[in-house]
Amino acid sequence: MSLGVGIATGLYGISFGALAVAAGLEIWQAQLLSILMFSGGSQFAFIGVVATGGVASLPAAIASAWLLGIRNGFYALQMKPLLGSLGWRTPIAAQLNIDETTGVATAQSNLPDTRKGFWLTGIYVFVFWNLLTLFGSLLGSSIGDPSAFGLDAAAAAAFLGLLWPRLKALQPIVVATAAAVIAVLLTPVLSPGLPILVAALAAVIVGGLNLFKPKMQAGEVQ
């Protein structure tokens, strides 16, 4: 399971690499993101904002990547009691704390498998994600005009692919719709990258007040 997840995730590293160089990053800069940031959503967000706003949008690119990384903190919270005493391996476990590792680890039925799943998936995803980022950026840099190859639409499709599995209830659908409308309408009036951050307020308001909440089933926790 770990190897399969590693390869599948790595494959979309190809699109990340290609889109990163299309956004104006050097090949080694794209690689730096895959090694150091190592969080797909945040990486796509960073290059997405840079692609539309250039150097002026770098602060907004940092903020978008940071805000999208917040869920990794919650995965860490979930994994900490399962992984046991980590000692010096804590900083490494933290870096590997992403959607895929948490997904595989928490799908196991016993503790040894959970730990094995976490580490193996982490290592496989890291290796394939980085190898295929390199492949993608080399591929991307051999392409001239990115829009002629539909790479801007590919970036949008990549965001849709990341968003899709999260749209299973009314609350996230309302937030997604509101955020999209806010971001597009504010684009002509705010500086690049900012509309995305303002759109994030939709999550804070709907989540904070728990609007459009799902009806609870009897006996269901949260």
């Binding site: 730096l32 990384g69 903190g73 919650f74 919270l77 539909g150 639409a153 955020a179 409308v181």
Partner: protein, 102 residues
């Protein structure tokens, strides 16, 4: 700010969340409201990025072949196509429409 510096800062910022989760006590972040906002934040940001990527150019709202490409991507996702297939198909549709001048 240079691009490289921004990459380093952003990477450290993302890492801070990952590490933070191992440091803070469960009860601080385990609150339902905090967890709910965090998960909706992901949805809001991804959707805003998707929308601006598909419907804006520089600081203008633009409707072009990218929207059709995103619709094709949505259809493929509904049919459970793999991520890479979805991305490549969207790129192909947009490139094709651009080539015919849409």
């Amino acid at each position: 700010m240079t691009l490289t510096l921004a990459i380093l800062i952003a990477s450290l910022a993302v890492y801070s969340w990952k590490f933070f989760g191992y440091l803070v006590p469960q009860r601080l972040l385990g609150k339902p409201m905090v967890a709910r906002i965090a998960s909706l934040l992901t949805v809001a940001l991804l959707s805003a990025l998707l929308a601006t990527q598909a419907m804006t150019s520089q600081s203008e709202i633009v409707f072009d072949g990218r929207l059709v490409a995103v619709a094709v991507a949505a259809l493929l996702l509904k049919l459970r196509a793999p991520f890479l297939v979805v991305v490549v198909a969207a790129a192909a549709v947009a490139a094709l429409l651009q080539a015919v001048g849409f």
